[in-house]
């Protein structure tokens, strides 16, 4: 599996546009800045909705109305994050694919997506009964808390990607080499 991922990353790395983005003076910076600044739109609004569910904020506003009105800009923000994220990986594919922090981040993103889906289903099914309650039912509060914690860890992992502590081109323990998917004798990093 790691060999497959490495081969795919090397193939991407050798494409023209990957090199162009990576070596451009402005483009990579613009993409990364957009990715970071769009946090305000995606994560910021998601945190507002989660805080409502937990009863920490907006307790006197209809939970359903708040979630449905803020949903569109939040999803727009996530689309932008997703596109810019893909471009960032495409610009530096080998290092990204073999980054411990990136792999953890992707795992947590999958967990967040499943959590969001379950949350949305539960909320749609139950909304009539508690809409103006200060706190959502327990199951939804758990979902909101999971969302807050995992997204915070995702941001931390995203920040850590820039650091080279566990990069494959440095000597690493077998555990780190396993998690990062380092390939013996690899020539590209």
């Amino acid at each position: 599996m790691n060999q497959l991922i490495y081969n795919a990353a090397v193939w991407l790395d050798n494409t023209e546009w990957s090199t162009r983005i990576h070596e451009s003076y402005y483009l990579y910076n613009w993409i990364e800045s957009t990715h970071v600044l769009t946090l305000m739109l995606s994560l910021g609004i998601l945190f507002l909705i989660d805080m409502r569910m937990l009863g920490w904020a907006f307790a006197d506003i209809s939970a359903n109305k708040l979630a449905t009105r803020l949903n569109t800009p939040m999803l727009l923000g996530f689309v932008v994050m997703f596109v810019t994220g893909i471009l960032l990986v495409y610009a530096v594919p080998v290092r990204s694919a073999q980054s411990v922090w990136f792999r953890i981040k992707i795992g947590l993103l999958i967990i967040c997506a499943i959590n969001a889906l379950l949350f949305h289903r539960k909320m749609t099914a139950s909304i009539g009964s508690w809409d103006f309650e200060p706190r959502a039912p327990k199951a939804l509060r758990v979902g909101a808390l999971i969302s807050l914690i995992t997204w915070s860890v995702i941001v931390i992992c995203g920040r850590f990607i820039a650091y080279d502590w566990f990069d494959c081109n440095y000597p690493q323990s077998d555990l780190i080499r396993g998690i990062a998917g380092c390939i013996d004798g690899q020539t590209q990093f």
């Binding site: 946090l39 305000m40 609004i45 805080m51 904020a57 506003i61 009105r69 650091y163």
Partner: protein, 192 residues
């Protein structure tokens, strides 16, 4: 009429005047000596516990930086929700409640940003002292804080039905632009 205008908008006018004086000072000849005068403060910052910790443990610096990003996200979210409502978006949500609740969240997230920002600044104090973009961010941040607490809040604290919708939209757009500028200059620091 002019007198009543001054009386009703004294906080706004004072804030505007302060900002004009500040910008005039920044572009005056005395800025060089003032810039040199604060160098000892930045040298001292690097010797504090925050500065030493930030330099010694890269992971700690990175975690605090991530906290800064989370604060940025929450502040941005509260600005978008509140100013979006003032712009007429998110219809159906009570404007008064959204603006008031978002202001509380804004204040807490600003506190988080300032706290994490001070920690990070101590770790790289001399480096940011010599960065023009850091001073642009501080200018934008000063403008943002003045704007929110002395211009925007006094106006939105009134009965929103009595305030001109165009004034509310102007406030909202200005707020979004100012905080985007603060965030963008902050990002620019990372590239310098």
């Amino acid at each position: 009429m002019i007198f009543s205008l001054i009386l009703n908008y004294r906080k706004t006018l004072c804030s505007g005047l302060f900002f004009v004086v500040l910008v005039s000072f920044l572009f005056s000849e005395s800025i060089t000596s003032s810039h040199l005068a604060v160098l000892p403060i930045f040298e001292w910052m690097e010797t504090t516990w925050f500065g030493v910790a930030g330099k010694t443990w890269g992971a700690l610096f990175a975690v605090v930086q991530a906290g800064h990003l989370i604060g940025l996200g929450v502040l941005g979210g509260s600005v978008i929700a509140s100013d979006g409502r003032l712009l007429g978006l998110f219809k159906g949500l009570p404007m008064r409640l959204v603006v008031d609740r978002c202001h509380s969240i804004f204040t807490w997230s600003l506190g988080l940003l300032v706290a994490t920002g001070i920690f990070m600044a101590c770790g790289v104090a001399i480096k940011i002292y010599y960065m023009p973009v850091y001073w642009y961010k501080m200018l934008a941040l000063t403008l943002g804080v003045l704007f929110v607490f002395f211009i925007r809040k006094p106006i939105v604290d009134r009965d929103l039905d009595q305030v001109s919708p165009w004034l509310l939209r102007l406030l909202a757009l200005s707020s979004i632009m100012i905080w985007f500028t603060v965030a963008a200059t902050g990002r620019w620091i990372g590239f310098s």
